[in-house]
Amino acid sequence: MKRLLGKHDFLLITIIFALSIPFIVFQSHDRKSIVIVMREGETILKVSSPGRYDVKWKGKYLMKIEFDGMRVRVVDSTCPLKLCEKMGWIRPGGTIVCVPNKVIVTFENVKKKYDTMTW
């Protein structure tokens, strides 16, 4: 008696499943943390590797940030009260704001289960 499915049918099914694998893999792949530093709505620095980086605006030094690959903090700032330094480390989803320097330090494309937060 002949089988219901021939070898070509199995081949077709295999191809369809093979095509769907990249979507599943892409979905579950963890994205790398990227820190962005913004001023007046523009991104002035983008960091993806651990290290210490100077933040400058039109050539003027504003602050220094440190990124350890997972977290970021301000280690030096020209602002008078240094509140941004006192905030310490933040993780993806967090934001450091330096009001006098008008600088925002945050993470790019953070996946969260909410759109915004009241605090």
Partner: protein, 350 residues
């Protein structure tokens, strides 16, 4: 027999083809559903983050008619205008002018007159728990310049004499304002809410069908539902942890939170924060945070401060504030959570 075998073969062949077709349809359907989950609706929202109103602002705008970047930038310009106008420390501000008038009448524009009147109205309906006349106390504590320190009891008692919303007089006919008793206005507890309402007005003036939200320092005004149909998911900060303590779903309206973690210092193991109790002159005790959902951002902002100040009397707050159109969630000292029944309606996605 030979005939029977041929017929069987034909039937099996047909059955085989049908099975393959159904399997193909099934797999294709599965893949389409899978793709639907993977390829979510394209993000069409323009996001603008900047600093205004002395804090972080996040403008998220979607429009099919007008370039959303144009709308977001117009909103940001407006927020920056209001930052200068209502900052009591800025010599260009109208509030600075009123505070420095030595008790004389000061003519003001309609926007200022309306906002000060609204702030006094909130002081009246909350029996002074929200009070926009604590300028001198805020200065005494150093929270105005972010250099806080602990004043003496005598200094606080003396400065309290120069506060109180009943010391604000209005001349409706000539649109003038006068401060008695050496008080100073500080609209910090309501100006952010007003700015968010203006932001929504501006967005709607560009496109009545605009959607999105505007956030300023944790206060949020919804401009329109996400993709025109879905609620925005708003997390509520846990006052002592990094993770949110709750989630609410907003199609419209506003939410604001007042917490003891925004501006504070610690001395001898005690936390001194910036939300002062107008009756004692000291930081209000008994509450870690107060979140208020309202139809507009002015109400949410003012009532969040009042709810925080009155938090130790939490039964009154959760029962009475819904009558003022504010739906409250309190995190009391120690972490106990209390909510208005009406607040719970916003914790459901539908």
């Amino acid at each position: 027999m030979q005939k029977m075998r041929a017929s069987d073969r034909k039937n099996i062949s047909l059955l085989r083809k049908e099975v393959i077709i159904y399997m193909f349809i099934g797999i294709a359907g599965f893949l389409i559903i899978l793709l639907g989950f993977i390829l979510k609706p394209p993000q069409t929202y323009y996001k603008l983050k900047d600093v205004a109103l002395g804090t972080y602002v996040n403008i998220v705008i979607g429009s099919n008619k007008i370039n959303p970047e144009r709308i977001a930038k117009a909103i940001l310009d407006e927020l920056k205008r209001l930052t200068v106008k209502f900052d009591p420390r800025n010599p260009k501000s109208i509030i600075h002018k009123i505070n420095e008038a030595n008790g004389d009448w000061v003519s003001v524009d309609e926007e200022t007159f309306t906002l000060i009147k609204a702030s006094i109205r909130f002081a009246q309906i909350t029996d002074g728990a929200f009070d926009p006349t604590l300028g001198k106390l805020i200065e005494l504590w150093g929270f105005d310049v972010m250099k806080p320190h602990l004043p003496t009891d005598d200094e606080i008692k003396e400065t309290l004499k120069h506060s109180g919303y009943k010391n604000v007089l209005f001349d409706d006919k000539n649109m003038r304002v006068k401060l008695l008793n050496g008080i100073k206005l500080d609209l910090g507890g309501i100006a952010k809410g007003y700015a968010l309402e203006k932001a929504r007005q501006i967005a709607k003036s560009f496109d009545p069908d605009v959607t999105g939200f505007v956030e300023a320092g944790g206060d949020i005004r919804i401009i329109g539902p996400k993709f025109g149909r879905e609620p925005w998911v708003v997390a509520i900060k846990d006052p002592r942890k990094e993770e949110p303590t709750d989630f609410i779903y907003l199609l419209d309206g506003a939410v604001a939170t007042s917490g003891d973690y925004e501006r504070f210092f610690e001395m001898n193991g005690r936390r001194y924060h910036h939300i002062l109790d107008p009756k004692t002159g000291y930081p209000a005790r008994g509450t870690w945070s107060a979140t208020v959902i309202a139809e507009d951002a002015v109400t949410a902002d003012a009532l969040a401060t009042a709810a925080f100040v009155l938090g130790k009397d939490w039964r009154f707050v959760v029962l009475e504030f819904p009558k003022l159109r504010g739906h409250v969630m309190l995190v009391l000292e120690g972490g106990t959570i209390k909510k208005s029944d009406t607040f719970k309606l916003f914790e459901r996605e539908e």
